[in-house]
């Protein structure tokens, strides 16, 4: 389960304000203040669930008095027609939270579902699928959580918690060796040093520079295999990451090269929202039906 706390709450509040603004004019005009309903979140297609605690937080932020009862939990496989959660309370509050909660839940479940497809594509192979920094502005913490829920792993959270030496760094430092050395000297010792490489020559440089992790960026399958062989022959502790242009078609072949990690930007930048709807029944009628 994700950390639902003050930090994420403030993002959710901004989303609510964006939608509600100066107030829901329709509902204020029509629905009496004390009108109460039961809402159900229903899956309109099959998917992997992610983000339910955040959806719950949206309802709580609108009104802590809303009763939210989860029927499913994050990581569950959801079938079309499944009831994901029930929420009971003032109808006005339910309608105020509806769109914001659904937008987030649909997006995060979309990411988890896509992640799971990538993970399943490498079934049986010992490789970790990771996300990238190609996330949606303002939603990184949510999206990285969805990737984990889908069975993926998180790459660094940002520029601050991982060293990744790219070509610009290499150029500025005049070579991979010197770039790695500068990082060893200046970067907190708790961070590993990863070097992005684009060809076998750079792989060798990174290896001899003592990189903790070597990224094979946009290489051919053949080069990747060669790189893995070179690295493994020298040092078994060095992690190897494949990156660049990964899709559902090529991921299994890439995994087959023996890399430890494959980072996939598409997990977050190209996932499509799944379809979930909220249905509301006035509370009295609902009770009647049930008692019938």
């Amino acid at each position: 389960m994700p950390a639902v706390n003050n930090q994420t709450d403030s993002i959710l509040l901004n989303a609510l304000r964006e939608d509600i603004g100066s107030g829901d004019v329709t509902t204020s005009a029509i629905i009496p203040e004390d009108h109460r309903s039961q809402a159900v979140l229903i899956a309109k297609e099959a998917f992997l669930l992610a983000g339910l605690p955040y959806a719950e937080a949206v309802f709580r932020l609108v009104n802590p008095a809303l009763k939210f009862k989860a029927n499913k939990k994050d990581g569950d496989k959801i079938n079309k027609g499944d009831v994901i959660a029930k929420i009971v309370g003032r109808t006005r509050d339910l309608l105020a939270a509806e769109r914001t909660a659904l937008n987030l839940l649909q997006r995060l479940s979309g990411i988890a579902t896509l992640t799971r497809r990538f993970v399943n594509s490498t079934r049986g192979l010992k490789v970790k699928i990771t996300d990238t920094r190609k996330t949606t502005a303002g939603l990184r913490v949510f999206e990285k959580y969805a990737v984990r829920t889908g069975g993926g792993y998180n790459h660094r959270a940002g520029l601050f918690d991982g060293v990744l030496i790219k070509d610009n760094h290499v150029e500025a430092a005049d070579g991979i060796k010197k770039a790695v050395k500068l990082c060893r000297e200046n970067v907190p010792h708790m961070l590993k040093v990863e070097v992005e490489t684009g060809n076998i020559r750079e792989v060798r440089s990174a290896l001899s520079a003592g990189a903790d992790i070597i990224m094979l960026d946009n290489m051919t399958l053949q080069d990747m295999k060669k790189a893995v062989a070179i690295i493994r022959s020298k040092n078994l502790r060095t992690h190897i990451e494949a990156s660049g242009g990964i899709n559902l078609q090529n991921i299994r072949a890439i995994a087959g090269t023996g890399v430890d990690l494959i980072s996939v930007g598409a997990l977050t930048h190209s996932a499509m929202a799944v379809d979930i709807s909220m249905e509301i029944k006035p509370l009295r009628r609902f009770i009647d039906k049930n008692s019938a």
Copy 2:
């Protein structure tokens, strides 16, 4: 061009903080403070550009001293390989802004590109393609701008600037007629009243209740045609909106029913990011090359 102002700046700042956090450890360790470069934003595929002023704002927020020169403008058709913009300044600043600027530009261009495809699918027909409230949490103002850039139109910005009577409202008010009446009485007079209908019976009710706009939600093509005929026979000023399950396959047929508007959630909830990269060259070397 979009309004690039304080309100959007604060969203962009949050995105920057999310990525930069306590600092870019790699760059701080390797790139000297006064190292300067030229960056170019390059299209890796063809698409419709949207969000360039916001990308520029990201660079400005990192350091107002960065020189941003746009080669293209929002709404332009971009070809693979096109240089979209050049930015000159401190290398540290360029790298700090890179991911946040690209993430946003890629997403917004993705939305504009998808919107354009929907718009093109109805070419020659007099229908407006609109977005919905199914936007990404915190980014609605950006995404609605991207839809406009793609040739689409904006539906209401939120619950506050448009009256849309849905089934829950109808049920609470005991009928469409009463729901419309309540809105006419209580809602600011500058807002039109739209009623969501799911069948011909409801269309007739909405029409006789004097709805300004009638939404045909998830109806068959046949029912939509019938609904349009009924409405047009009574009142030429009533707007008709089709909604629900719209995709690139069915939109032209739906447009053919004679509706005025088609609202498409997919524009924002299922657009995929386009591929744009930022390439950096140290400024000295770049100058040498140019002068060669």
Copy 3:
């Protein structure tokens, strides 16, 4: 009842901070921490009550443990000497909330009271009295609520939820007809289009341009009558709004011209605060009295 939520809470918190700053030096020095009292809000004159839930929110924001018991509710006619509410809790908290709660309650009740006077001045006539955007910086949502409480109606909440074409727009568009057309094309379809007119010629233009609402701004009674006649003869659905220089002396005559709406800036920009005071009794003594 108004929506008392996070958005309004943050405005109330700012008001509290403005008053309390680094702390109530007098009370901290004199009143023991655990000293408890009962406070009563007492009307010092007759008025129409508005804003009590916000006053309650102020006390809750100071300390959620304060018990607030409302004797009256918004919209009630209050007589001099009436007890509006009782609040029990730590004396320090009561004194911290006092001024901020009263300042707001007095202002909002002043607006509601003045609004009611305008509304009563048009008794028997079918006209709506509306507010304008001439509200106090930062308090619009509160003040528009007070206008509704007084029996008035809300005009648009801001520049974002209503189209109002003024002379500058007309001039820039080169005529009313073109200005209306531009709005029909570019503005979300859920918003009506209102045109401000200053004479009969402009009224005719607005009418033929198909304006949904025509504002008669600062016209003579005679011209207003003429304008109403012209508009009604063409289209019964067009709303007519009178505006400019409305006061308690002339409003009934203006209403008599047959307009649908009269917008009155004075409701918010010139309402005077009503007089309410808070009286505090140490809890022990209060209990003794009651038990006597």
Copy 4:
């Protein structure tokens, strides 16, 4: 001139957001982006000007490129028809700032004008007219500035920068003497101690307790005179403040009792906005006119 800084800017920004929200739909639809105008702020009645630097700040916050030229300055007596300021720039920006700037300027000038009337009512007498904490939520710093501009003086800014012992404090402390003693012991030594008194007995207590300032609250003229005589006979350094129910009718008589200060809640809670309008001319036409 007031301090126009970050703190006040953030209040002004909130006011702008309240009005502009998701954007000015009318202006965006009609006025081209690069359309430029000159706006003039024109007095529609006579008043004392206050708040012009804040109005300027509103325009600057919308767009720092707007050129604001003040024709008048705060404290100036303004006649009907006077041009207060000219602003040149993008028409869109001028319209975005208009209402927020005017609302504030009208309110602050209203306060300054009313303050001046109170001050003039005591002309020739050596008494200071001060404000109270009865200000508008969120606008205290602006309103206290307007009082100063009108020739009034500021009472304490909040609960934090002045000791004022009221009846509740006296009751909790078991007497005025002990209340003053507690403050002398516990309150920062840079703050004077004021005691609110309601009758001659309390005045004597406050005097013997060594109060720096004695407030005569809601006393009759006769009692006030007596109180002044008693206090002056003992200590010439003690300040005497009259308070409660002060209006333009009774203030001169009250001042005549010899008090040093009169605090008037009405200055801020019952001032009415003055009438100022903004007129806009497209820049080309304006130039033509001038060159004609």
Copy 5:
């Protein structure tokens, strides 16, 4: 006890965010979500306790469900090994709050402990030890509270709640007399006027200008004695404050000069944190132990 409210909460939240950022990676990986523990705050040295309610607030802000039981209270003398508080709840929450709570508690107790040493150094003498504005950025309200807890007194909270005329003011005003006069005219009457003096000549000027408080800044003991004699001979109500270069070695001698107040920057700018640690025991084991 300090005011633990929204204002201080937001400072504590910022401190928590600074430490927790995108999450505690170690704990998330190892400690199960529902793992519960008891934590104890234990003194590793002797000191005077200050800040416990703020430490409690940190735990509450992480999770309101944590049970915090204080064994000691602010102002208590703590011995090495004393248990200050026990907190029971989710282990993840305890670890998230630990460092932020300790950092603050250690610093505030350090200030209170140092303050107490200064206060004790003047035991038997009638002098107040006060803090200055030399506090840590963002923590003034906390640190001034710690000074009070240690038996010290607070000087003004900031530039806003006390008049202190320094040499720059004197120079700009062309003399102490004129500077005092300007303050009497323009500053709220509830604030006393203090004048900083550096020699006997300035002391005489301040005295004749009617300063309420005279600060003797960086004077020799001899001059201070002389200044006190001069002032006392004229006016018994004038407060005398010693300031500048005060330390534990010279404070008793300075107090012996007869000054009323001694302000000591070191209380806040040079206090060292005391040593407190948090020990955690898994709840099951803890219970077993207790039941054994």
Copy 6:
């Protein structure tokens, strides 16, 4: 140089507001608006400078028009009497920024100076002195910068960018081996895994569990030597960190055990502010002097 950006600006703004609040009453009363001065920051003792760009930022935030000219730069050894910087501008702005700028500069220079003393104590030995998370609430980014300026290194920035397995984690995971394994599986691969050990047995466990870094916490010199020998005999890449109770007396001996890193809480929690003052001269007089 540190990153002086939006994030740190907002901390500095809060500090300014804390001090200035509703305004500098003394200066507003005495110093004319347009009075200009030159201020110089002067060292009152010898120290190592850190934080000058942040002090400059404080002046810039008060008024961007202030001219700040640095005579020294961070990392410079400062002698008593040295002029660190000159600032020219409005006297009101200089006085508004003074205390906030000095408080920060004095604290950061104090940290840098103390850090340098620790670093110098291990001169000639190949060991890095690092900070800890024992920083001042809200100022971590500044204080960690000061440590770097003093020649120290930064440990992890927070809980988010480094894995540190402590006894509570070990206990919850049932052993060091399992705790390390859980981290390898669940923590982003770019982070190293550090294990805190308190005795030789735990050192062996951490080593065999494959920890990247082993912390020797509060061990005797003898045990540390033994631990280093054991670790070095197995794996040359494992980092060794000493921690707990480090001071200027024992650090050289500890460094002599052969550890790679020594983390010292005292760098930030027990540094004392250095003494810097700001002297102001009215601009005219200053010029005269210079021209003399």
